[in-house]
Structure formats: structure tokens, C-alpha cells
């Protein structure tokens, strides 16, 4: 009797084909991104980057600069807070319009409510545009209307997060127990009352908790938005980077990481109290 040992991998042809296909897709991608690892070891670039990175230590802790950083940090926090407050002003009415669990037009066998449905469709598309365009693009545009500074940042957060909150609010309102609200609507109550007495008691905690979580995200976003001139820590970092001042950049980076941790912590505490 003879046992033959298969030494060759039977899947070889398929793997080879997969490899060839991968190269065929990868090659144009490398071209499109102008992929040149050579640039990383270009002595000129290393010189610039090295000089910059060496300045990171020690971080700049002069009193005048620190006071600027502290001011920018407070501004960042204020931007996120005011932005979320305005976002709620946008999100609450939008969310209530969109939510199906408060829909009067859905009652009964006939759905002959063209008007109501078109309003809901319009609200949905508005929401999609608000949250589909990234906040930093809104900031870039708004800087041109309101000038450099925090106001553009606040409004950018309000617009993007207004859209996001509206979507999640309506989802939360639909996912909970919707029977009380339905009973109220069926027995003739208006939508606002049905929301306040039928939906809000059951979902208030979740709504508040998600809003606080979004505030935490807004802190992060408002730092980044400064890069297009919308105030806060990001704007300071952008300026320091353009002047290739490594010491200042490293101070701001440390403060930024601390700020994100702080926002995490505050949001955790508030959400724990809500639970």
C-alpha cells in the first residue's frame, strides 16, 4: 500500500488569482494617493520634522502662553455647551415631526394624508443634509459669514448635531413603549400632550443620556474645528503649527488630551446620575 503525501497546497491557484487581483486594484490606488514612502526618509523632510519635534520637549509653560491656552480651553468647552444647547433647539421639533409614534396620519385604514407625509419627508431630508455634511465643512462655510471665531464653531455644532440628535431622538421615541402615546392620540389628544404624557416619562432618561454623550463628542469636534478658524484650542494649535513652534504645540496637545479625558469623566458622572 502506498500513501501519497500531498505537499502542494490545493488552494494555490485561487490564492494566486486573489493576489493578482489585489495588485490590480492596489496599483491605481497607490497612484491616486501619490504613495511615496521615499518622502519619509528624504533628508530635507527629516530635517524640518526633526527640528520641529525636538522643540516638543520641554513644552512651553510660560505664564503668558498658559493663560492663552486656558482661555482657549474654556472657550472650547463653552463652544461645545452652547452648540449642544442650540442643537437641541433644532432637534426637538424635528425629532417630534419625524417620529412615527406621534403620527396622526398613520391612524386608521386609509393613509390619505399627503400633506402630513410630505412635511415628514421634507423634515427627513433636511435632517439628512444637516448631519450629512461634516461639522468642519459647516464651520468652514460659517467662518465666511460670521468671521473668524467661536460663533461659527457654535453654529456648526448646532447644525450637525441638531441633525444627529433629531435622528436619534425620533429613534428613541419609536423604540420604547409607544402604546400609551398611541392610546392618547387615538382618544383624541393632540400630539404635544401625547408626547409629554405618553412618551416622555418612559424615554426621558435615554434622551438626556444620549444628549450628554453628544456633548462629549462636541468637545472633541470643537477642538478640531479650530483648524478652519472657528475658535478654541484648535485655532491656537493651528497658529502654533504654522509657526513651527513645537513647544507650544506639545503644550496644547497635552491640554487637549486632558480636556477629552475631563469631558469623558463629566459625561460619565452625569449619565450615572441619570440612571
Amino acid at each position: 500500500m502506498q500513501t501519497s503525501i500531498i505537499s502542494r497546497d490545493p488552494a494555490t491557484p485561487y490564492r494566486l488569482m486573489g493576489l493578482l487581483l489585489a495588485i490590480a486594484i492596489l496599483w491605481p490606488m497607490l497612484q491616486l494617493t501619490q504613495f511615496e514612502p521615499k518622502l519619509l526618509i528624504d533628508p530635507n523632510n527629516i530635517q524640518v520634522m526633526g527640528d520641529f519635534l525636538v522643540q516638543f520637549f520641554p513644552p512651553n509653560i510660560e505664564a503668558t502662553f498658559l493663560s492663552l491656552v486656558i482661555k482657549a480651553t474654556v472657550e472650547t468647552l463653552a463652544m461645545a455647551t452652547a452648540g449642544i444647547a442650540l442643537a437641541m433647539v433644532i432637534a426637538v421639533p424635528l425629532g417630534l415631526i419625524i417620529s412615527y409614534s406621534l403620527s396622526i396620519s398613520r391612524i386608521g385604514p386609509t393613509s390619505d394624508h399627503q400633506f402630513a407625509q410630505s412635511i415628514r419627508f421634507l423634515a427627513r431630508s433636511l435632517m439628512l443634509v444637516l448631519r450629512g455634511i461634516p461639522e468642519i465643512v459647516w464651520a468652514l462655510l460659517l467662518v465666511r459669514v460670521f468671521g473668524l471665531g467661536a460663533i461659527a464653531g457654535v453654529l456648526a455644532i448646532a447644525i450637525t448635531y441638531g441633525g444627529m440628535l433629531a435622528k436619534v431622538y425620533s429613534e428613541i421615541l419609536e423604540s420604547g413603549n409607544t402604546l400609551p402615546a398611541r392610546a392618547l392620540i387615538l382618544s383624541g389628544s393632540n400630539r404635544i400632550a401625547a408626547f409629554l404624557y405618553g412618551l416622555l416619562p418612559g424615554s426621558a432618561q435615554e434622551l438626556a443620556s444620549y444628549t450628554v454623550y453628544r456633548w462629549e463628542c462636541a468637545v472633541r469636534a470643537s477642538v478640531v474645528m479650530g483648524f478652519v478658524g472657528a475658535g478654541g484650542l484648535g485655532q491656537l494649535m493651528d497658529q502654533s503649527m504654522k509657526m513651527l513652534n513645537g513647544g507650544e504645540v506639545s503644550t496644547i496637545l497635552v491640554v487637549f488630551l486632558g480636556l477629552v479625558l475631563l469631558a469623558d469623566y463629566i459625561s460619565l458622572i452625569i449619565r450615572k446620575q441619570l440612571a
Binding site: 490606488m29 523632510n45 524640518v48 444647547a85 455634511i133 478640531v224 488630551l257 452625569i270
Partner: protein
Amino acid sequence: MSTPINIQPARQFCLKCLLTLLIVFGLTIASFIYLALNPANLFTLEALKNITEFIGRFFPPDLSPDFLDKIWHGVLQTLAISALATLIAAIFSLGLSLPVSGRFGPTAKGITRFICNFLRSVPELVWAALMVLAVGLGPFAGTLALMLHTTGVLGRLFGESLENHPTVSSNALMLNGSGRVTSFLYGTLPGIAPQLLSYSLYRWEMNIRMATILGFVGAGGLGQMLYYELSLLREAQASTVIMAMLVLVIFVDFVSNKLRRIQMHNQG
């Protein structure tokens, strides 16, 4: 006859909650005062006139074939930046995940975990600004920036899924005399591969979104086009770029929702 009535105890008065609520409320108002921002001012006639005039300049968008060609190139570049960055990051993370999961001892675990945390806590845009300094303007800087951030995220996720994967099959291979590398490749990797793939796809989705805006600091893609057109005050062109961004984001959202639904369906 009496039907049992479900009596809920009234919620107890909670001083701490009330205080938190007051503090949150107070701080929100303080923010508006600190920023000297009066929401009522935003709705004055003059502000509304400014805004409508500003919006008016964006219409009609430039839809000439030449410009649409450029946009298409920008979209492809954005996709390529995100895909390449995710791919390279996934490969690096696979290497990093071994020490992160603690296979090379606690010291290596601590060090690599710290590296991952550092890489992912610096935002992509800051990495991009740094990489523009390192390799100059262009999509390569954006690719590097996304790659660094994603390596931090995926390294940690990969490490955790490696840590949580049962070692039975790789142990069986080792007991039968296979080497450490072979037992990893044939005993462990096939088990965690689907999870790693789904993490990578999820990160790719986020990276597409990031890649559209990294261009604001000069790192290629649609963002760089938008920044450029807006700097030249060519609003008609800028509005086409914004529409392309919106379509891209909505398309990615749609596809990933579909995929997720299919996946959930398959898992029952």
C-alpha cells in the same frame, strides 16, 4: 371585586439630581454669556439677509463636464486614501495585536498599549497637519495620518479579540508538534479573521468620512478641493464639491446599513 392596581412609588425627591440640573443649566447660560453669543441676534433681519445672500452665491452649482471630471478624480482619491490607510493600518495592527494581547509578556503589553492609546487619542486632523510637515502637501500625507490613527484603534481592537479567543485549537496544534507560527496561522487566525475583517470594514467606513475633510490642512481628497475653491471665492464650484461630499457620505451610510442588515440576518 377589586382589581389589583399597579401602584408605583412616587419618585423620591433627589437634591443631588436637582443640583446637577441647576448646574448644567447655569453653565449652559454661562457659555452663551462667555461667548457673547445672543441667539436672538442670529435671527435679525440683517443676519438673515447676509445668510440668504451667502447661500445664493452657491447656486447654481458648477456642473460642467470638465469640473465633474475633477470631482470624480477627487472622489476616487478620497476613497483610495481611506482604503489604503485602512489596509496598511490593518496589517500593522495585526503585528501589534500579538504584543497587545500579552503574548510577549506584560512589559511589551504595557508599551504597545500605550502606543495604541497615544496614536488614537490624537485626532486625525492633527496627525494630518503633522504629516503635511513631514512629507509635504498631498494625499500621501492624508494616507499616513489616517493610517497612524487607525493603527491605534485597530491595534487595540485586534489585540482584544486575540485575547478573548479560546486557545483550544492552537494548543491542539502545538501539542501535536507544530511550531508557534504555524499554530497561530492555522489555529488562531481563522477563528478571529471574520471579526478582524468586520472591525476593519467599520473603520474604513469612518475613514472615508474623515478622508473627505482631511484636505482642509492640505492632505488631498475632496476636502482640499473644497478649501481651494472657497479660497478663490468660487462658490459655484465649492457647492458642487459639497454636494459630492454629501452624496459620498450618504452612499457609504446606505451601503454599510445594508451590509450590517445582511450580517445580522446571517447570524440569525
